[in-house]
Symmetry: C2
Subunit: 425 residues, 2 copies
């Protein structure tokens, strides 16, 4: 087969997959919540039944892992064990228990002419989900998409190819066993990068693309996609310690935001301190952070109080370290803190520590990020902590969905209007 034939095949393959997804999505639109619950529970049961198969298929991926240059940590994340499979099955049962978002009357409005205008939640349609490494994401994403009435095209990483196929077989078998359209969940069977590009052109068949992975993946998807994308870029999160802060609380919140899990998007990367408390607070937080092996990179003002720290560069203020490093800056007042954060932040999560009500109100209103947290750790910005039940990602966009994306963020709405013969006149 020559190169042209391969590309033609890829074109046909991706279009076939997307068309099957579209057809399945039309069926899913009207499927009852009970049927979707039945499917989720059936899939959970099949995961428990096929534990051996899943672990065997996962072993094939683990064997290949060193060839893909995976780190030990990445290999560990890839590994499926009996305990982890039980957790994945239990997560499906948890999603089954979440309220069904579809059909909800979001609001209604009785018009003077007697028309009853209702806004009803409906699925988006077809979701193209692109993700890397951990195979449990295959199951989570499919569960969230189908529970919200969407068909999903899953494109996992080559590192988890066999594990993903084994999970997909279970999800598809469960669809058949519960009389749901088998193509509601499809796994892309090629790891050819060009296939992603082909899917990204099919805006008439795919309603939204969700990339979850490294910055390179997200940038590529954003630039190539012809349909809407729910993106998750950097998390350069700030903690701002105001002049009326409880400083011992400020130490706790800063340390927790930075250190509780430094490699994730809602960990703090930058500390901003009001000048009036710099003298007391900075030496204290420097001690506390150094105990946790955190490297401090300080602005000239901050260096006055933490003279043994590294000086910060301009890049430090905008950096997402995902590591035990934090930039530190001193500001003259609340407004300077807000300007600094709005300038350098990636719009993910910012916390303020203060006992001053007007300051907390001003900060909450003027900060342009997906979450503003008053007197608590930045680490709380996620779907489970916010009560969404489960999340497919955290959006740093402002359009459609912002912050944690759960079932509701995978939906749209339509107007359903009831009349009794009204004519426009």
């Amino acid at each position: 087969m020559n190169a042209t034939e391969t590309l033609t095949d890829l074109e046909t393959y991706t279009r076939d997959v997307a068309e099957r997804a579209k057809t399945a999505s039309r069926e899913l639109m009207t499927v009852s919540g009970a049927k979707k619950i039945e499917w989720l529970r059936c899939a959970a049961d099949l995961i428990r039944e096929r534990t051996t198969t899943l672990i065997d298929e996962n072993a094939r991926d683990l064997e290949q892992a060193p060839n893909y240059g995976l780190t030990d940590a990445a290999i560990d994340r890839l590994r499926l064990t009996e305990d982890r499979l039980e957790n994945i099955a239990a997560a499906l049962e948890q999603i089954a228990l979440l309220p069904d978002p579809i059909g909800e009357v979001i609001e209604s409005n009785s018009r003077p002419n007697g028309l009853l205008v209702t806004r009803v939640r409906v699925p988006l349609g077809v979701v193209f989900f692109i993700y890397e490494s951990r195979p449990n994401v295959t199951v989570d994403a499919a569960a969230l998409c189908v529970k919200s009435g969407n068909a999903v095209i899953l494109r996992g990483g080559k590192e988890a190819f066999h594990s993903n196929q084994a999970f997909h077989a279970i999800l598809a078998d469960a669809l058949e066993q519960t009389d749901l359209p088998r193509h509601a969940v499809q796994l892309v069977e090629t790891t050819d990068r060009e296939a992603v590009g082909r899917f990204l052109r099919l805006k008439e068949l795919i309603d939204v693309t969700i990339p979850r992975g490294g910055k390179g993946l997200i940038e590529r998807v954003t630039s190539e996609a012809t349909m809407p994308v729910i993106k998750h870029f950097d998390g350069n999160c700030h903690v701002y310690v105001d002049k009326l802060a409880d400083l011992s609380l400020a130490v706790e919140i800063t340390v927790n935001s930075k250190c509780q899990r430094p490699g994730v998007c809602n960990a703090a990367e930058s500390l901003i301190v009001h000048r009036d408390v710099a003298e007391e607070f900075l030496p204290a937080i420097a001690r506390a952070l150094k105990e946790q092996d955190v490297e401090l990179r300080c602005s000239p003002e901050a260096l006055k109080w933490i003279p043994d720290a590294e000086p910060a560069t301009e890049e430090d203020y905008g950096a997402e370290y995902l590591d035990l490093i934090i930039s530190v800056h001193v500001v003259d007042d609340l407004e300077s803190a807000i300007s600094h954060i709005n300038q350098y932040s990636s719009g993910h999560t910012e916390a303020i520590v203060t006992d001053d009500l007007p300051a907390s109100q001003r900060f909450s209103t003027a900060i342009d990020s997906s979450a503003v947290i008053v007197n608590a750790s930045t680490r709380f910005n996620d779907g489970e902590e916010f009560g969404l039940g489960a999340e497919i990602g955290i959006s740093t966009d402002k359009f459609h969905a912002r912050g944690p994306c759960g079932l509701r963020e995978l939906t749209s709405y339509k107007y359903v209007v009831h009349g009794a013969g009204q004519l426009k006149g």
Copy 2:
């Protein structure tokens, strides 16, 4: 100046405009509802004060109109009169009265650990609005954008260049008089088409682009934009007459949907009739439509009952005529009606005429369009009829905003979380 210098200037110009808009949008985020009301009323007053100037500037556009090949109808739409200016001023005062969307707590959730999670409505940021001909749109769009806390970059058509400039001067003067950022409303000062392309690349400064105009404009914007777009494509709207329809009502609804204003997007373009009522209904609706000079294009089944009509081609089923033409098709049952509509519709508005509750429920759930109307005219799908107060357009997208877009559709949200020292642990 050579071509390269011109392009460099355009690059600098568009970036400057967008950066000023971004700065203004940051200020607007925290402006009170009262200030925005003051601005809207001030602008209304200035329109009344400067009626003579506005009519003079409009006369310059009217003089040029024949050179742009405008039809008489288009020239009439372009014309400003004292009455029309009073209506435009009154519309501003109406928008002033609408509830302010910004700061609304959309929902809140008290978490087990004591965190109070609120979802708060916020502006999108910067709107790039591209539109054609009618100069009142300049005022409406600016009013809706600023009322919802957004800065707006207006790019009107060359046909209304002088009128738009005169309106913009009023809007900007009103911003200054009420101490709001003058760059909250900017009018693009060049009609160079390339300027649009430059703006469409500035995704880091512009949060959403809204094109309003012909299909060519919308297609160009969709393919070039790097930021989200709220699109309004075709309105190929259907009326479906079910077997349990009140047939005299069905005649009224069909005639109203088709004829009340045939040139607009929510006018009906296709009539679908259940076989069981075809014999009685089709001759009756054919008479009624012919009285209104409507041309009928019929499927083979429909031709049996309306033998003197034109036969429909495949293109007719998908056509947006915007004219006194309608396609007519007969189906065996409700499911065939739903499949036909979901296949050919542009997803705008579909009506069903029926007294059968299960049929109305099934139709409402299974039809994938922005509005489903039971027993009333398709013509009701607009912002004012649905109670949105005013609209900037009707979206045929499912992402972010669907159907009529008013103030709320120009907003996003953020999470504001209140704690008392909670740490993740």
